[in-house]
Amino acid sequence: MSDISVIIPINEINETIKGYLVKCVESINKQSVKPDKVYVVHADTKEVNEFFKTWETPEELNIEVVVNKDKTDFCSQVNCGVEKVETEWFSVLEVDDEYAKSWFKNTKTYMEAYDDVDIFLPLVVDVDEGHNFLGFTNESIWAMKFSEKMGELDNNTLLNYQNYQTSGAIIKKESYVSVGMLKSSMRLTFVYEFLLRATYNDFRIMTIPKIGYKHMNMRENSLFWDYKNDPKEKISPEEAAFWVEQAKKEYFFTYDRAIEYEN
């Protein structure tokens, strides 16, 4: 066991998602060092509730299904899961993503070597829906003279570079809660704002230079796909710039404050 819990937020269910769910749970099951518990936190909609009433979970894993009452957004699902977590660490696994098979084992090695780190980011492999390699995320902080300390993310670096991924990361629950968790009122840049807030609060954030997480980029109907393509959810370049700037303003505040973009 690893003193880590995994949170899988689920917003909707269809045949494609069902397929992804099997694979993502399989990627947990394949770990040589298994998590203590897996929380599947789903949106409170009729279809999703129906599916999880009869969902068969693998015997090898300790899985608990949690309904995120009355809410459907990603941030509140994650926070709802975190409140349930009883281990020191947790990790968020998006339903269309997978862990690399030695991720938890590697994390354990790094936890022993660096006992004051609050967040271990994985080296993320971004793929398209055909699982073709698109690029890495979180790798840049290992580049020479990129961040203040090689391998670690800091506030100044974040103010210049926004593209970091916390899905798959191993996060210390106590630290996460102490800075106010994810903010539901932030659209588009909620991860960025959280990282700014975490580094502002002196979190030590390190990328483990090992492939830890496979992330499907811009899957159809995913949150970020909707931001780009869904007429109802679409975010214009102006709005995107607004949310980036908003993240830079909001990270000084621990708790979520209502924010609206007005055109």
């Binding site: 030695s102 590697n106 070597a113 660096y114 690029g135």
Partner: protein, 369 residues
Amino acid sequence: MSNNDQIVKLTHALEKLKSKDAAIYFLTMDTKGHAKASVTLTYNIVKELRENNYNAIIMHEKSDYHDITTWLGDEYKDIPHVSIEAKQVEVIISDLVVIPEVFGHVLEQTKEMPCEKIILSQAYDYALETLPPGLSWRNYGVGVCLTTTQTQVEYLKTIMGNLTYYEITPDIGDVFKKHDKPQPPLISIHTRDARDTMKIIKSFYLKFPQFKWITFRDLRNLTLNKFAEDLSESFLSVWVDDISGFGTFPLESMKCGVPVIGKVPNLKPEWMTEENGIWSYEFNQLVDILGNFVQKWLEDELPEELYTDMEKTVKKYTKENFHNSVMSTFKAINERKIMEVRMNLEKLTPVGPQDNIEEGSVSELFNKN
């Protein structure tokens, strides 16, 4: 020189050899404050000899020789040095001058020195560099060559067979050790030609742009401690040295637990196996091998056997084996020299040299005769 004068000299030489007081001068190049494996080995031999009561001394050409403790460490600070330029060298018949093969030109200048000269060949490729065509070390009165591997012995025998060869097994020092934390994505690179370093780095980034965030470290011009520290901090090292005689760098790397991708040198090192590293005969293939290795390291897919074979390989190069090889070599040379001096004394004295010569004075010997 009269017969008696010769007897005095030889008797004195015999005393010195028996008491290990005879000087053993190691002609050494000035590295100008930079670490160099061949010079490290020379200092290690001198240190080992001195710790075992031999009178080993570093001899250098110029008076402004750079202090080696800056890169080699304080433990070498008590080793005596003499400068040829400052005329601090006075040799007598019992002394020994050890000349690196790269200093071949010195052989002509030292031809008339009244002492034995031997060659220390760490880089077989330079053996013929300064010798005129058709001449061997033997033509300069050299009968002994020390080298670092059996493969070099075999090779040198094919071109200069009429010498006695001794093999000194270098030890890979304890300064080379495993990093105490998981290794970051750093690659150490060590090539004889600096152009090769740049060729590898540049083509790697062009062929594998997804790995542009991985940093290369050229381990040139560092102190020994910094060199060892940087090396152990890497997850991989790259080695290109076609004319390497021993292959110190890959062994140092293995001792640090850092796998090596390397080009097989012209003379394949005897420790090199298919299992203890990733070796190629083709320089141009190295970058592809490198890309493949990096991917496997990131995916944690490297075979555990690679690391265990590295450990096995480097186990041979211990302080104890080094000590044994240095002691047996210099004991054999010293005993042979004692024998030669005795034989010469026998020729000059009707009843031969006295066995208790080390306890008595030379004049007592004359009185006895």
